[in-house]
């Protein structure tokens, strides 16, 4: 999983936020509930103490103290109910004190008397670990005698409620967070799905299918706005690309007429016999240049056509191995002329679909280049093989090679590794551009590797044609004829 993806980061943030809020909320509930339980306990204890005072102690001088203790025992049965009750006189002596609770949770003898804190409530920790909530209430009898009545109960019950709550949180929180992560991830996946679609389509848009557009989900959200903006950008690129292509085509086209005139006039002139030798020389030189200019114009036009995807009118199925073999055979003399050993290994059929004339041009250009840049006595080797889905053409030589810094530029228009040298050999730096454009127009690729000074290898990969289709189409053609 990509931890830098928006999906991952937002999910983490989202889950973190949910977890944080839940912890805060849980803490508030826990503290609030604890407070509430304590205050209700305090309240009921205070009420009990007041009840003792108002019903029993109010006439203590008339009824006598024994009556009070008996009544307390009878009404409240503190030992059975787990209550602590103590009545202290003004001088600090105890009028009544309940006994140890039956369940043994506490023993009142361990609870120190704190008469002076009448009117307050406190939590008393006992040596055995039990905590008691004790409310102390001051009381004055009718004849003016003052007492402190203490009523207490263990905190155990409210503590167990809080404990249960804590347990619920401990189990529930991770569960809720897990759901939040899953939900967040799912929502992000859904929300970002158009991004994936946009990315995939955008990846596939190249100079050859600029008319394609990204999917525009009519969701009215930011992604729709993004895809619309991207589409507008692609439209602008398409427009300028078309413009460039049309410009190249128009320019080449417009250049042809003056070139025709130039060439025609010069040829006419050179046919005349009454011109001096030096003038003839000039005319011939101008003719050579006009020829070269015409070639450049042709090549540029061819490239812009190929790049615009127009120039593959003659699609047919053929065997690249056979085409290569035939083409190389026709070029043997060029190699022999420089004592270069030209070998061609193209034994197995590699059927491709395309413009065989154009692909032949690829072979001619690559082989011609290899021979040009290989010294006398060198080797040029051509291989054709069908390998997993592609027909591969390799042209390698033992020539001068290409310096590493030039390697990435060799397919650029007008790029020349060694200007002086290639000009002498008659190149305009467009041959490899055409080769690349042809390969691209066929859905193929071309790459170059070179050891400076030791040789160069060009590798062309073209998609293999489906052979069943090939055979059936062939037979169709035969029938038509």
């Amino acid at each position: 999983m990509n931890t830098r993806s928006i999906r991952f980061r937002l999910t983490v943030w989202y889950a973190g936020l949910v977890a944080g809020l839940l912890v805060l909320f849980g803490a508030a509930v826990y503290i609030g509930l604890g407070e509430y339980l304590r205050s209700t306990l305090t309240e009921s204890l205070t009420k009990e103490a007041q009840q003792i005072g108002e019903t029993l102690l109010v006439n203590v001088n008339l009824s006598g103290e024994t009556y009070v203790t008996d009544e307390i025992k009878e009404h409240f049965a503190p030992e059975i109910n787990g209550l602590f009750i103590r009545v202290t006189r003004a001088d600090g002596s105890t009028l009544y004190e309940s006994g140890a609770s039956r369940d043994g949770t506490f023993d009142p003898r361990n609870i120190k008397s704190r008469g002076e804190k009448a009117g307050t409530s406190r939590v008393e920790g006992l040596p055995n670990g039990t905590k008691l909530m004790i409310s102390a209430v001051p009381f004055t009898s009718r004849d003016g005698e003052t007492f402190v009545i203490e009523a207490g109960a263990p905190l155990k019950q409210s503590e167990s409620v809080l404990h249960g709550l804590l347990l619920t949180f401990a189990v529930g929180l991770p569960l809720v967070i897990a759901v939040a992560i899953a939900g967040g991830y799912f929502l992000m996946t859904r929300a970002l799905a158009p991004v994936g679609a946009i990315t995939r389509t955008a990846e596939q848009i190249t100079s050859r299918n600029l008319s394609e557009r990204l999917p525009e989900a009519a969701t009215g959200d930011e992604l729709e706005a993004l895809s619309i903006a991207l589409n507008r950008m692609i439209a602008r690129i398409e427009h300028s690309f078309r413009h460039i292509n049309r410009f190249t085509a128009d320019a080449s086209h417009e250049l042809r007429t003056p070139l025709t005139v130039l060439r025609g006039e010069l040829e006419g002139l050179s046919r005349r016999t009454d011109i001096p030798d030096d003038a003839r020389e000039t005319i011939e030189s101008a003719l050579e240049e006009s020829e070269r200019l015409a070639k450049i114009v042709e090549s540029l036009l061819a490239i812009s056509r190929l790049d615009a995807g127009e120039a593959l009118m003659n699609r047919e199925l053929f065997d690249l191995a056979e085409l290569t073999d035939d083409t190389v055979d026709q070029m043997r003399l060029l190699a022999e002329d420089k004592q270069i050993k030209l070998s061609c290994v193209a034994e197995n059929a590699a059927r491709v679909e395309g413009d065989s004339g154009r692909l032949k041009q690829v072979i001619v250009n690559l082989v011609d280049n290899a021979i040009k840049y290989t010294g006398e006595g060198g080797n040029v080797e051509i291989r054709v093989a069908a390998t997993d889905g592609s027909a591969r053409l390799e042209v390698s030589d033992s020539g001068i090679g290409i310096p590493p810094e030039s390697l990435s530029h060799v397919f650029e228009r007008f790029y020349r590794v060694d200007k002086a040298r290639s000009r002498k050999l008659g190149g305009a730096g467009l041959g490899l551009s055409i080769v690349k454009s042809i390969c691209k127009a066929h859905g193929g690729t071309i790459k170059v590797e070179s050891n400076d000074g030791k040789g160069t290898r060009f590798t062309v990969d073209l998609p293999l044609a489906n052979d069943d289709g090939a055979d059936s189409r062939r037979s169709n053609v035969k029938e038509e004829r």
Partner: protein
């Protein structure tokens, strides 16, 4: 032979007229589609050279209208476009041949002559230039009494040069005829083959028959021919 040229580029028209006149053709010219069509339908031409992009009436339209009235006259289209689709379209519309600008004048002449020859195939079995002799039936080449052994490509090259003896053939024309357009790149294949051919035909001979015309191409001819 009377030829009509319909071409709006005055200079192009002018050098074609001049060149064809030098080749003893009678040449009329028109600078736009309508006057071209008028001339074409008024007179009987042996051949019409028609530019594709014309003012007033386009070349395509002129072609259609001429064909509606006259099925026979050979029409050579000139164009600055070379899209295959255009080519096919115009050949279907009735053009007999198609030449893309810029072209070598030699190529124009060669095509004009080929179109005028149409029907009457003049294909001599034996081609002769001075003491060089090429026999199309046995595919043998002799210079004087000496038999010359040629490879298939060398033979094809010599045959093409000798068929057009005395005429300069551009490298592009040679490549198109002897190889095919795919070889028309940076390659110097023509020069290498011509050099080899020359070695077999002209070496040791006083009279050199294969000549280089700088800036234009190659030519086979007796010096007396030109």
């Amino acid at each position: 032979m009377r030829v009509l040229i319909v071409e709006d580029e005055e200079k192009v028209s002018r050098f074609i007229v001049r060149g064809l006149t030098a080749e003893s053709f009678a040449v009329d010219s028109a600078a736009d589609g309508r006057s071209g069509l008028e001339l074409a339908t008024t007179y009987n031409y042996d051949l019409i050279i028609l530019d594709l992009m014309l003012p007033v009436l386009s070349g395509t339209e002129v072609l259609r209208q001429i064909r509606r009235k006259d099925q026979r006259v050979p029409i050579l289209m000139l164009t600055a476009k070379d899209a295959v689709s255009d080519k096919v379209e115009h050949l279907e519309a009735g053009a007999d041949d198609y030449l893309t600008k810029p072209f070598a004048f030699a190529e124009l002449i060669a095509r004009v002559k080929a179109l005028l020859r149409r029907g009457s195939v003049e294909r001599p079995n034996i081609l002769r230039v001075a003491d060089l002799e090429l026999d199309r039936l046995s595919q043998q080449v002799r210079r004087g009494n000496r038999r010359i052994e040629l490879t298939a490509k060398e033979y094809a090259l010599l045959e093409y040069l000798m068929t057009n003896a005395g005429r300069v053939l551009s490298r592009t024309m040679i490549i198109d005829h002897v190889w095919d357009q795919s070889f028309d790149g940076a390659t110097n294949i023509v020069d290498v083959y011509v050099r080899h051919l020359r070695g077999k035909v002209d070496d040791g001979q006083d009279k050199k028959l294969i000549r280089t015309v700088r800036g234009m191409g190659y030519l086979v001819g007796d010096e007396a021919d030109t």
